[in-house]
Amino acid sequence: MPIKAEVMDAGDLRRALFRLSREIVEHNKGVEDLALVGIRTRGVPLAQRLAGLIGEQEGTRIQVGVLDITFYRDDLSLLSPQPVVHQSEIPFRVAEKKIVLVDDVLYTGRTVRAALDALMDLGRPRLIQLAVLIDRGHRELPIRADYVGKNVPTSRREVVHVLLKEIDGEDRVVIEELSAPSVGKET
């Protein structure tokens, strides 16, 4: 797939995360009972970075969990073979926590819907908020993000690709063009 445009470079990404971390603290009036949960795969390093930034600002350690939403996907009966499932690792009780879900791209909203269900099955959080690096529109469910790194208008024929150092070796966000129409896999 050819890269059509670069949406963010490493500096943009760093600044966006810094702003998001500030907004999260401000909006929650501190970090009491706050925990971050990253959605696999690229929500996880983002959650860890945000937790680091918030921790530095507030002089404390913010807990981070990892959520695999595969069991909760609504498109399993359309997929073959079945996607691989990884472990969810939530090292704290979610009950009565303020949880910030973290993902890289918000698209149809279906991943977030699955993540909300998955989280609720682990207990009853006091509240759940959503932080995403990119909101590219085209929602199919009534879901919106509380914290957005950048709004990027896209067409459905495009794919937004968030590259992260931890996984991809570089920090960068690009838009690629699909040759065939998107099947809505990217959320």
Binding site: D68, F71, L79, S80, P81, V84, V85, Q87, D121, L122
Partner: protein, 313 residues
């Protein structure tokens, strides 16, 4: 990582090492559900799993039932008494009825080897072999493998002893296929009259004497002894069997300190294993039961989802 392309699971003989590892890697996330307050996933919502048992079994059937229910499937249990089979109720007929009742997955247990394959050839839905005669019991094999992997980290170079009635054991066969594919060294131990001919061609060592094999074992799987075998003259007495091949405290002492004691259950305490040995800190018999639910969840996930294209039938 391997890609799962099987429509049925009839035996571990049919799987590659990579496919077995795939199931085992999925069992981990499934086991996470055990610690939850709400043990219910929406994954198989709207799917129907029918357990079709022509042989009495509470353990395996319950394990499948729990696994399917935790994944959100509807489960219907059907036990077909041997008497109605004797009355001439045909297996094919029963199978077709069960399929017509809306099964997405049929879990089948039958006293005759090959029955699961016959079912798979008859119905359009997925079939999981929950034990067919002395052929295979692949989910038991998988849970044994998962238990070993969980405790030992891997299989390469591991020495596993399987002791007992190898001849009539589907568990032994599934274990042998799985363990040898994953790189473990297997020794089967039992009286020659309960040792199937040509078993060494499956890549295992054969021994008639247990103590020497135990001394260097990383794990020992003690098979259940069907007491009716004695009546057929395959060994002289239960007493003699227990003395020669029973797992007891003294033999447990010979086992290396980090070895595992496994048993597929239900145990004949005092026959193939004493209560003392079954309660040894190295015994993982109840862990095997929980792991059974986890691997069956993994398998149901792999088989019940997805469209049919791209699957091997």
């Amino acid at each position: 990582m391997a890609v799962w392309r099987h429509k049925h699971l009839l035996g571990l003989a049919d799987l590659t090492a990579e496919e077995i590892e795939l199931v085992l890697s999925l069992a981990g996330p499934c086991k996470e559900i055990f610690g939850r307050e709400i043990k219910k996933l929406p994954t198989l919502r709207g799917k129907t799993v029918i357990t079709l048992f022509f042989e009495p079994s509470t353990r395996t059937r319950t394990s499948f039932e729990v696994a399917a229910k935790w994944l959100g499937a509807d489960v219907v249990n059907l036990s077909v008494a041997q008497s109605s089979v004797a009355k001439g109720e045909s297996f094919i007929d029963t199978a077709k009825t069960v399929e017509a009742a809306g099964a997405d997955v049929i879990v089948v247990r039958h006293a005759i080897a090959g029955a699961a394959k016959l079912l798979a050839e008859t119905v359009r839905c997925s079939v999981i072999n929950a034990g067919d005669g002395a052929h295979e019991h692949p989910t038991q094999g998988l849970l044994d493998l998962y238990t070993i992997k969980e405790r030992k980290g891997g299989f390469h170079g591991l020495r596993v002893v399987i002791v007992g009635d190898i001849m009539h054991s589907r568990v032994a066969r599934s274990d042998i296929w799985g363990l040898t594919k994953l790189g473990a060294k297997v020794t089967v131990v039992g009286p020659p009259t309960l040792m199937p001919p040509g078993i060494e061609t499956l890549g295992v060592e054969v021994a008639y004497e247990l103590d020497a094999a135990l001394a260097r074992a990383d794990g020992v799987n003690v098979l259940r002894l069907q007491l009716e075998r004695q009546k057929k003259g395959l060994f002289p007495s239960v007493r003699e069997y227990a003395r020669l091949y029973g797992m007891n405290a003294e033999r447990a002492r010979r086992l290396p300190p980090d070895a595992l004691i496994m048993h597929p259950g239900p145990t004949n305490l005092g026959v193939e294993i004493t209560e003392e040995a079954a309660c040894d800190p190295r015994a993982v018999i109840t862990t095997q039961v929980s792991n059974g639910v986890a691997v069956r969840m993994a398998l149901l996930y792999l088989l019940a989802g997805g469209k049919e294209d791209g699957l091997l039938s």
